[in-house]
């Protein structure tokens, strides 16, 4: 279980401070898929980086299975929005990179990486370089790299955010299948898309901006295993429409508020 308790984060740049998160508290149940969703600037990526141990909260604590996060650890793996593959290494080396970082011998790590590449549909591409692959395929390498270290917790930062709509949809369905057939890993998934969150998640944490905070935690009522059929069901469409509406409202309020702030400053 991931326990985020009263987490705040203040960035200071050029003498000005910016409150990115205020008193954020929530839980992510073990073995569950939880999405963090909200308008740009609500601090969801910052929150994910804190769980990964790349950034520390200004105050508050994050505990994973009762252990406070103080740095990166072998129990977690991160998938990045812009893939972050090593351009000079081939697909196999990239997929094995997380294991290599931990000093796993070449044969073992490459066997593991090969298996994960096969699972994400990249068998046969082991010796291609990232620039030879499409964005969707590059992210498959990113996912294989994260799965290869067999983490307890999978942290995904808008992994499909830079892909085109069709690729994105295919990737969502493949991730859904992959996640359901793996002994479901605790997953935190940052996204902008309500449809994506509703399809993949057990819980959706809706966040609001200025400062970033939790607005609402929603349980996604659809049973697993899910598949593409879910996306056409009226219940799913009503659910996403309702949540999308909520997000839109937030965005409008946020815009109005920032307009007001600008006026006050004038």
């Amino acid at each position: 279980m991931i326990l985020v308790k009263e987490v705040s984060k203040v960035f200071t740049r050029d003498g000005k401070s910016f409150e990115a998160l205020r008193d954020v508290t929530f839980e992510v149940a073990t073995g569950r898929f939880t999405s963090l969703i909200g308008p740009s600037g609500c601090g969801k990526t910052t929150l994910l980086k804190m769980m990964a141990g790349l950034t520390r909260p200004t105050s508050g604590t994050i505990k994973i299975d009762d252990k406070e996060v103080s740095g990166s650890g072998p129990d977690r793996a991160l998938v990045f929005q812009n893939f972050v593959l090593l351009p000079w290494a081939d697909v196999l080396t990239n997929a094995a990179f997380g294991l290599e970082a931990r000093g796993v011998p070449k044969k073992t790590r490459e066997d593991m990486a090969r298996w994960q590449l096969d699972r994400v549909g990249l068998a046969g591409f082991e010796h291609h370089y990232p620039h030879e692959l499409s964005g969707g395929m590059q992210q498959r390498v990113g996912i294989a790299r994260a799965l290869a270290v067999d983490p307890d917790t999978l942290l995904m930062d808008e992994p499909f955010g830079s892909l085109d709509t069709i690729t994105r949809h295919v990737m969502q369905l493949d991730l859904l299948r992959l996640w359901q057939e793996t002994a479901s890993k605790t997953t935190v998934f940052v996204t902008h898309s309500m449809e994506e969150a509703a399809l993949l998640s057990d819980h959706v944490i809706i966040m609001d901006t200025r400062p970033g905070r939790v607005a609402e935690v929603v349980e996604v009522p659809f049973p697993r295993p899910r598949d593409v059929g879910l996306t056409t069901s009226p219940k799913y469409q009503a659910f996403t429409a309702e949540l999308s509406h909520q997000l839109e409202q937030m965005q409008r309020v946020d815009m109005a508020r920032s307009a007001q702030l600008t006026e006050e400053n004038d």
């Binding site: 790349l54 090593l86 290494a89 081939d90 970082a101 931990r102 620039h131 499409s134 395929m137 295919v170």
Partner: protein
């Protein structure tokens, strides 16, 4: 799977083979060179005498004589030994100091004022200083070559390390990669394009350093030949020696380019012809 193999056709540098002899780019290039030599020959023949400006063919003749002359090769040996030492020193020290400076902000702050000062200074100005301080022996001449090449290699290496993206650093950190592995598997390959570019430019400048040293200050090798032929008004040989220096510069750069292409072969498809 919507797999699309986006691999392009490999477009390496043209090799000299039957195929590339017919390549229009190669034909145009060759034609330009031939036309240049032809213009040279015609202009030189139109002069009253060729004391100061030889014909192309007489230069060629002198060149054929020269390469059969052991003294010519002895002169090149004298010139090339400090070139090789100086270039090696500038590459090794440039890469090592560049890596350290790129990795540690403190080191960078310590060395950057000196580097900025010396880099802004035309290196030729330092040649007399080196001669006064070290004389004209092998060490002194190597030092001049070193000074010409070093800053390019070092600055380029440091920049290459500094520009490894924060995302890649975060990624390696998130997988718990230790500093030694990070250096070997991320910093070195990440900075390699910059190291190679710096080394190539540094080599070009080292050639300049070698020539400056020989022609302007300490004529021991090729410089002595140049001085003698100039004094004797032996313009065909003078031009022939200068011609060999140009050829040497081209050869040195071609070798560096080959090494660069090999070291960066992972991106040959991405970059196309380099």
């Amino acid at each position: 799977m919507t797999a699309v193999d986006g691999r392009g056709e490999p477009t390496g540098s043209p090799r000299l083979g039957l195929q590339s002899l017919l390549d229009p780019r190669f034909l145009v290039g060759s034609a330009a060179i031939v036309a240049g030599f032809l213009a040279w020959e015609i202009y030189a023949r139109s002069l009253d005498n060729n004391i100061f400006f030889p014909t192309f063919l007489s230069m060629l003749e002198a060149l054929v004589d020269l390469v059969q002359d052991p003294e010519f090769w002895g002169a090149y040996r004298l010139t090339l030994i400090p070139f090789v030492w100086g270039l090696l020193a500038s590459i090794v020290l440039g890469v090592v100091i560049g890596l350290v400076a790129g990795l540690s902000r403190t080191t960078w702050k310590l060395v950057s004022p000196y580097v900025a000062f010396l880099h802004a200074l035309p290196v030729s100005v330092l040649v007399p200083v080196v001669v006064v301080g070290l004389g004209i022996d092998l060490v002194a001449r190597s030092t001049v070559v070193f000074l010409f090449g070093f800053f390019e290699v070092m600055l380029s290496t440091a920049a290459g390390v500094a520009y490894i993206s924060n995302d890649i650093r975060d990624m390696a950190r998130s997988f718990g990669m230790g500093p030694v592995r990070f250096f070997r598997r991320v910093v070195l390959p990440g900075a390699m394009p910059a190291i190679m570019a710096g080394t190539r430019i540094g080599t070009g400048r080292a050639v300049v350093g070698m020539v400056v040293m020989e022609l302007l200050l300490v004529s021991v090798g090729v410089g002595r030949l140049v001085a003698r032929y100039r004094a004797d008004f032996d313009s065909p040989r003078l031009y022939a020696v200068v011609f060999t220096l140009a050829a040497f510069g081209l050869l040195a750069l071609a070798v560096m380019r080959r090494i660069e292409v090999y070291a960066l072969r992972w991106r040959r498809d991405a970059q196309g012809a380099q």
